[in-house]
Amino acid sequence: MVPPEWYLLLSAAIFCIGLFGVLTRRDALYFLMSVELMMNAANINLVAFALYYGDLTGQVFALFVIALAAAEVAIGIGIILVLYRNFGETDVTVPREMRW
């Protein structure tokens, strides 16, 4: 069996790749993909430690997280669609109606 620390390292690496994408990408669709990576990093932890502890809670919760991530993408795509209709781009730095 693979030692559990390796799963922690893997998930932390994937989470950081996702976070890097969130911080550097300007296109909203890349942003969604990066957030998806961050959530799946959590899933790796949940599934790996469900196996480690021998209880199913983590695996079931991972299924919940997958479903919620899909729901979040659905809302996100909807907002990106109205963004494109109003501003003609999917670049998140373009809308500047309000100052930060």
Binding site: P4, L8, S11, F15, G18, L19, V22, A28, F31, L32, V35, M38, M39, A41, A42, N43, N45, L46, A48, F49, Y53, D55, T57, G58, V60, F61, F64, V65, L68, A71, E72, I75, G76, G78, I79, I80, V82, L83, R85, N86, F87, V92, P95, R96, E97, M98, W100
Partner: protein
């Protein structure tokens, strides 16, 4: 002996909200030709009031109270109905009722209002589920259930560039913070092996070597809470979302959604990561919340001072109030008897805040409906044309500032006194200084409305529009704020009893 209700009936407030939302969608789908804004608004207001009725009934009857058999656990301990859950559900239901009544006038010419009302109902369902969550899985599911409709609500005016931009920014920050939150949950699960709050607490007490993992997880969960409550470091969506969103939605988010963030923070951090066990494991989340509270209230109040736009000023003031409520977590100490009074005071403050802040945003909604501008200057002389609404707004402003004869004063007073009694004089002092600063920008609104003259004599002619429902919602919020004055005794007692069950 009166016959007992079945145990699942303890979820009646949440179920009422959920079924109202579903019924609205169903009727709108099968009979789109009979679509009527008024009937939708009345149905959702009745649903919210029924939910409020259930909550008040349960609180009075003592459901989930220690005297009547203790908290009710459902679904293998994943849900726990206690007094704190009912207390917060009462906040969500009252804010929802006020918001849907106000929305009747605000969306009077919108082509599909049913979506708005059902989204508000679903978000309120998510919030009331957050209040009863006793498992980190339910916490995350309910958090998303409250957040996803909120993103859509902020971007509801899909041809308005401001609304879409606000929705986008809210969604971007929300998606990242919920990803961080769920990663935090996964780390806590990795360290403790459970998602049920009570079992997590046992795991925290004997971590052997996994302190780093658990600590990182807890820090990440603080991030998720900070987003939902609009606190530093995830506060910067708040001014954008509140300014760009339709004003009833801003009212809903800044009152109900913020309270939802706090209920989950109060429950998770006291039950899953008890102060004593966390401190002995070397995880000092109390200090983390203390720093966040100070930075949040200072930043919110100083930023609010320089705003020319009333709605944006209210947005920053709501960030400041998140800082005050965070004192409820930041002023805890292991085993202290004063813990329940400071957290109870924070809960009472959120209830009072629910009325006064919703009312203030609904007044802005009314100003938008009238077509007067958004800046302080545009509000000049408003009191001559709309004396009742402006008096209500003055009540909200003074109560938000915490002036003595208003309910906002009592909740802040109990909060700061609780912090002092628990040995956190510095938190109370910074809170008091911030309250003084806030008096400046709140009184600017009152001065503009009552003392200044309108810039042009014709500037206020658009006030001939009479939004009756909005008027009623603003007046009800004002009556609620005033009635909390004599009613503050029972409120603070209920809140303290609810908080003492957590320690």
């Amino acid at each position: 002996m009166v016959e007992q209700l079945p145990e699942w009936a303890a979820l009646a407030p949440a179920l009422t909200l959920a079924f109202t939302g579903l019924a609205l969608l169903l009727v709108d789908t099968i009979r789109p030709e009979a679509r009527s804004n008024t009937s939708m608004a009345v149905t959702s207001a009745l649903g919210a009031l029924a939910s409020l009725g259930f909550t008040v009934w349960f609180v009075v009857a003592g459901t989930g109270h220690a005297d009547t058999g203790g908290a009710i656990y459902l679904f293998a301990d994943a849900i726990k109905v206690d007094t704190m859950a009912l207390f917060f559900t009462a906040i969500f239901a009252s804010v929802t009722a006020l918001v849907v009544v106000a929305a009747h006038d605000y969306f009077h010419d919108h082509e599909s209002p049913a979506e708005f009302y059902s989204l508000v109902m679903f978000a309120a369902t998510g919030m009331s589920l957050l209040a009863v969550a006793n498992s980190l899985a339910i916490v995350f599911v309910a958090l998303e259930m409250a957040s996803l409709p909120s993103y859509a609500l902020v971007a509801f005016l899909k041809r308005d560039r401001g609304s879409v931009e606000a929705g986008l920014k809210y969604f971007l920050v929300g998606a990242v913070s919920s990803a961080i939150f769920v990663f935090g949950i996964s780390l806590v699960y990795a360290a403790t092996g459970s998602l049920i709050l009570g079992d997590v607490a046992e795991g925290i007490a004997n971590l052997d070597g996994l302190t780093g993992v658990a600590g990182l997880g807890i820090v990440m969960m603080i991030g998720g809470v900070a987003f939902k409550t609009a606190s530093v470091p995830f506060h910067f969506w708040a001014p954008e979302a509140y300014e760009g969103a339709p004003a009833p939605v801003s009212a809903f988010l800044s009152s109900a959604s913020k309270a939802a963030g706090f209920v989950v923070a109060f429950r998770v951090f006291t039950e899953a990561f008890p102060v004593g066990a966390s401190l002995s494991a070397g995880i000092d989340w109390v200090l983390a919340f203390g720093i966040l509270a100070v930075v949040t209230m200072t930043l919110g109040n100083f930023a609010a001072v320089v705003q020319p736009n009333v709605k944006r000023m209210l947005a920053y003031s709501s960030v400041g109030h998140a800082g005050y409520a965070l004192i409820g977590l930041a002023a805890l100490s292991a085993g202290s008897a004063g813990n329940s009074s400071v957290m109870g005071a924070a809960m009472a403050h959120l209830l009072v805040y629910g009325f006064m802040n919703t009312g203030a945003f609904l007044f802005v909604a009314m100003a938008e409906r009238w077509g007067v501008g958004r800046t302080f200057e545009d509000y000049a002389g408003l009191a001559k044309r709309a004396p009742i609404a402006c008096t209500a707004m003055a009540v909200f402003m003074f109560s938000l500032a915490g002036l003595p004869p208003f309910a906002g004063f009592f909740s802040k007073y109990f909060l700061f006194m609780g912090a002092i009694d628990n040995g956190f004089v510095w938190l109370a002092a910074i809170g008091a200084i911030n309250s003084v600063i806030s008096l400046y920008y709140y009184s600017r609104v009152v001065k503009a409305m009552f003392l200044d003259d309108p810039s042009t004599p014709t500037a206020l002619d658009t006030l001939d529009v009479k939004p009756t429902a909005l008027y009623a919602a603003v007046v009800f919020a004002a009556v609620g704020t005033v009635l909390l004055l004599p009613g503050f005794g029972p409120v603070i007692e209920t809140a303290e009893a609810a908080a003492s069950a957590l320690f």
